[in-house]
Symmetry: none
């Protein structure tokens, strides 16, 4: 069996376990068991749980890297799409966002990688919204400072919306993410032009649920 494939199986197994409990409550033992390999072998591939988490982060980063490589054209549909794929990514790796501070506290390198990626991604999003403004969807007098602050709140919302909702709701689905998107829309409404307000899609249900679809879509 190839190294790649084994590592992949380990990550899959670990992700599923982390998402249901918490990283601290999942032992390497159980990951090995779930991955169908021996403890010794798990150790051969990943010396510690930290390394597994880091490699799961690599997956997240890789996916977001794809997004950066294929920037979306500035349409309102794409704004919705961006939100949706972000929610979905966060949901798939929810353990990461639910334990964010704990994980970053534990691993300095991870913290560095995470914040760097966040900044890079924020810049991408900033550019997208500037273009959205130029295209006449946002008010022309929106200052960079204002815009950045708006993005920051939406960021907070997208990072923690699912955690927030999960406290009370049993099921997380497309509807939950739609609600989160509506919150973000509401945040941007005061700075949208009439044309923007009219065109914003309020449902995400039309969009494909297959995450791989998200990477290439452009207008």
């Amino acid at each position: 069996m190839g190294t790649r494939e084994t590592k992949s199986r380990i990550l899959d197994a670990a992700l599923e376990l982390f998402n249901t409990s918490s990283t601290s409550d999942i032992s390497a033992n159980r990951v090995a068991e779930a991955a169908g390999i021996s403890r010794g072998n798990l150790h051969y591939h990943y010396a510690s749980k930290e390394e597994i988490v880091l490699d799961l982060w690599n997956r997240i980063e890789a996916e977001m890297g794809e997004w950066s490589k294929n920037p979306m054209s500035p349409t309102l549909e794409n704004m919705a799409l961006m939100a949706l794929r972000q929610f979905r990514l966060i949901w798939r790796y929810r353990f990461f966002y639910q334990e964010l501070n704990v994980l970053l506290e534990r691993d300095t390198e991870l913290r560095y990688r995470f914040t760097r990626a966040r900044q890079k991604r924020m810049e991408d999003v900033f550019v997208f919204f500037r273009q959205l403004a130029n295209a006449g969807f946002l008010r022309s007098d929106l200052s960079d400072r204002q815009l950045r602050r708006l993005i920051k709140i939406s960021w907070l919302v997208s990072d923690f919306w699912l955690s927030f909702v999960r406290v009370e709701d049993e099921v997380i689905d497309i509807g939950t993410m739609e609600d989160g998107f509506k919150l973000i829309v509401q945040l941007f409404e005061p700075v949208m032009t009439d044309r923007g307000k009219r065109g914003i899609p309020l449902s995400l249900r039309a969009f494909s649920l297959d995450p791989t679809d998200f990477t290439q879509r452009s207008a």
Copy 2:
């Protein structure tokens, strides 16, 4: 030595440890050591770590209960005060909010208690804002539905703002909380009257940091 005192020492020690690592990473051993008592005695008072967490939640709940008993008069200063004391509570018990989903997943009773308290508290806040509207600070055409949605976002912000910021910022202080408050203000701005917009305090630095001060203040 009285039970109360010992229990209190345990909770203090546990809180401090939980806030720096994560509940799973802190052993009962270390809590006992930090509290200056024996392992056996720790177990005598708290059968499990779950019980400690639950009792720490009792503290949170008790503090919020005080707030409910002494409702604030509807002024803009009090709106700021409410946000500040909320941030401060969350910061003091930050481990709780940073691991929220994990903790609630682990303990069903805690989940019930938490959601019930949240609903109760949300209702209090709703009443406060309604009074704020009646007092002429919020636009009179603000619907209950709109108001509730606004409160929901601010809630998300206050629950997770510090977690969000902590990723990048080393130090959490009054300034951090002020920034959080500004976010909330920004959320409410679109529905504020001119009188409301003018009167909103943008700095929290004037307010005392002593949390006990927060309970009685009214206009």
Copy 3:
């Protein structure tokens, strides 16, 4: 509350617990709980579990002492009665007989007391059977040696019959004891006279189940 009463409650609770698990698996803790007193208080009355077991033995011994004080007249009904009350005693204190060797290994004094009581009791029984022979129920050529050996086997049967049966049977009741008695009868049959064989009661069901009845009955 009087010492006597508390001690009695402790013994009752301990007996019930011992009978369902095993002495080693029952902690003083659980005995205290079942008796409805504090651990400290249990300790006040019984310094160790050994002492509790010894005091339970005292109860057994006391009950058998009553038997000695009121010897039965040599009838076949009384032979059945003796067996029955013996089975019942053993069943009530079954933990004792099921762990016999372990318990005696642990406590030298208990071993001494137990063997002494057994010898005393065996002598009583021997006398009873000699009278039974004199009364014409057993063959007159039965030697003391033979008789003693027969008693020994019956002893073994009564000590361990219930343990033996319990392995496979869920319920132990009067029928089970009846079966045990039949075994004993079978053992004695070869040395019984025709009159003895004819008169032996094969059912114990006619006898009262109230153990206190057993102490005074005599022809």
Copy 4:
């Protein structure tokens, strides 16, 4: 080191300890120590003490399985041999028979395995005695029902004879087992033919003590 060898050493050590105290009083710790391995390794091979007991039962069962595979020819010497090897087996695994009910109460699977094996073995013995009757050693009018009841008593005797004797006797040796055998002989005497009575060996001392000898001997 091979698994087999280590497991074997664990079983040897556990058996010796169990036989002197009781299973509950022997900690995994002490077993590991006696086996000369680490606690962790002990747990690697046996997850719990229950499993050790079960594996010791496997040994008993295996040994009895050998007996079944090599049925003895129906001679009086072999009847004695069967009793002797049974006593010896019980003595070697005496902890098992001394705690029988407790152990079976604890482990349902063990109970099932034990009763199944007992029934199988009883059937073997029944066949042997039937052959003994056919060979003219037992009275031809002996009914199956009578025979089964006799076997049942002897079974009780062989299971518990050593427990019974051990209460008073310090040393258990070939003589003790001989006494037990005599009891059994006495049980069967009433149904033996004259030829049977004359031929029965009253001493077991002539038989080799090496248990491996017992498996093949046939007339």
